[in-house]
Amino acid sequence: MTLRDEVFAGLILLVSAMGFVAARWGGANLQRLDEWALGGRRFGTIVSWFLIGGDLYTAYTFVAVPALIYGAGALGFYAVPYAAIAYPFGFVVMSRFWTVARNRGYVTAADFVRDRFGDRSLEIAVALTGVLALMPYVALQVVGMKAVFVHLGGAFATGNGELALTVAFVLLAAYTYTSGLRAPAAIAFVKDTLIYATVIAAIVIIPPRLGGWAHIFSASSAALAARPKPASILLQPQLAVAYATMALGSCFALFIYPHSITSVLAAKSRVVVQRNMALLPVYSLMLGFLALLGYCALAAGIKTTNGNVVVPTLLTMFLPNWFAGAALAAIVIGALVPAAIMAIGSANLFANNVFGEFTPRRAQGSAHLSKLLALALLLFALGFVVFVPTKYAINLQLLGVIWMVQIVPAFVLGLYTRALHPKALLLGWIVAMATATWMAVSTVTSTGSLSPNITFTYWSHPVTAFIALYGLAINLAVTIAATALFSLLRIRRAPDATSPRDYS
């Protein structure tokens, strides 16, 4: 084992131990759902900052965003506007949701929708959307880890990295089961410290060795133009709409993903949520510089068809051995933290809003079912990656963003108004889910692979835009029309279980 591998293995063992020890943090009863799943809603500004940051900026992000820049040029930079405008949106919406969730004891978005609209089928629709969108996302975390194990080689790469992957994942499942959200919260400190150190070191060390930023951009420009399918460091005008709509659509999805909701609800006060919305863009700034490592790879002459190895290769090439070990560990730990929170978030949805609705007598506030489901979900994700080609996980995750946006009318607008009829919201959701999925699948025939964007021609101008927003427009149109119809027909609706003072 080289020094790099020892540092790597040591850090992975350290965080696994932290995961188990975290169960004792605060000395709470972890059989209670809000203790296990939300850390007792007790996290202050700093813990929340690490936890939410560690949750939203996943290992897959760190690997895939530079890979996209490396492969497609300027278009890949959409992650930066996306990760910036999500915060003003989150500042307004999530602080309101935090308040009503605290006052009424909600753990998921579907809990809120159930009370607000009194409609079981709408609650189940919201819950299923979250679970469906998250499963491939957990699987992608496993893909990110696998890329690192294979890159490390030696014992780590045994069986194409699947042995090491299984060990890391079984440990993850075990401490998620015992410690709940406290495990990723504790590990997030190590993860983010390592990630920041890596990015700062990479930004300080790599660009000067490649002749400075001006040269990196001009070399990348030349390399992208020489491709069989030329790209550019500037956005081609016909991609401007795709760029803006992808940023906007993804921004709507970011905070309503179940794992984001889990880590936001763990904050101890509304002010903690708001402060974090102002402070978390630091991560986006880091993401922006990390994205530019894709150009560094182009300037360094790294040639590969698998963009996911670009960052690991670059780090091993330029950083000292021990530091490369720490940086690669950061990527793996960066997958463990969100994977744990995603498992917790989707387990809560399943336990509270799907199974819970079909069992007559549920144990209110018990973590038992959620814990078992989180375990099952993590093992399922591992199996998914071992047995199903990676391409499907990526395609399903793209669809996941498109699906997630379709709960905006029921959940986000629901936080402000009850004007929309619950059955109309359900109808809008069904039509939008079906149409948007069909649009995405239809891109396979025109572009050869699943694309998040679709091209329509308006008055002989072809416009390429993000499918999630088409879905949302259809969703809203159907919901509004059906609401008008249902109120004409006087179709009855349940009363609101929340009251105006729950929101302030």
Binding site: P81, A84, Y87, A214, H215, F217, A240, M277, A278, P281
Partner: protein, 68 residues
């Protein structure tokens, strides 16, 4: 609360729209010149606005505190 101050406290939320304006029309910033530290305009403009987004949210919070 006097009416004028109520308007200011509401109006502070308009600051949250600035990042959307800065980002969502790429035609405004999709160019190379002027460079800054070797970065084309497209890149430094968007990185700069990450910081300005953070500051506008901070400003909304501070203006909310003045009210109390």
């Amino acid at each position: 609360m006097p009416k004028a101050i109520a308007h200011v406290t509401r109006a502070r939320y308009l600051l949250l729209l600035l990042p959307f304006v800065a980002y969502l029309y790429p035609g405004w910033y999709d160019r190379i010149e002027p460079h800054l530290f070797g970065f084309p305009f497209f890149y430094w403009w968007q990185l700069l606005w990450v910081v300005l987004t953070s500051l506008s949210i901070g400003a909304v919070m501070l203006l909310g505190r003045v009210r109390r």
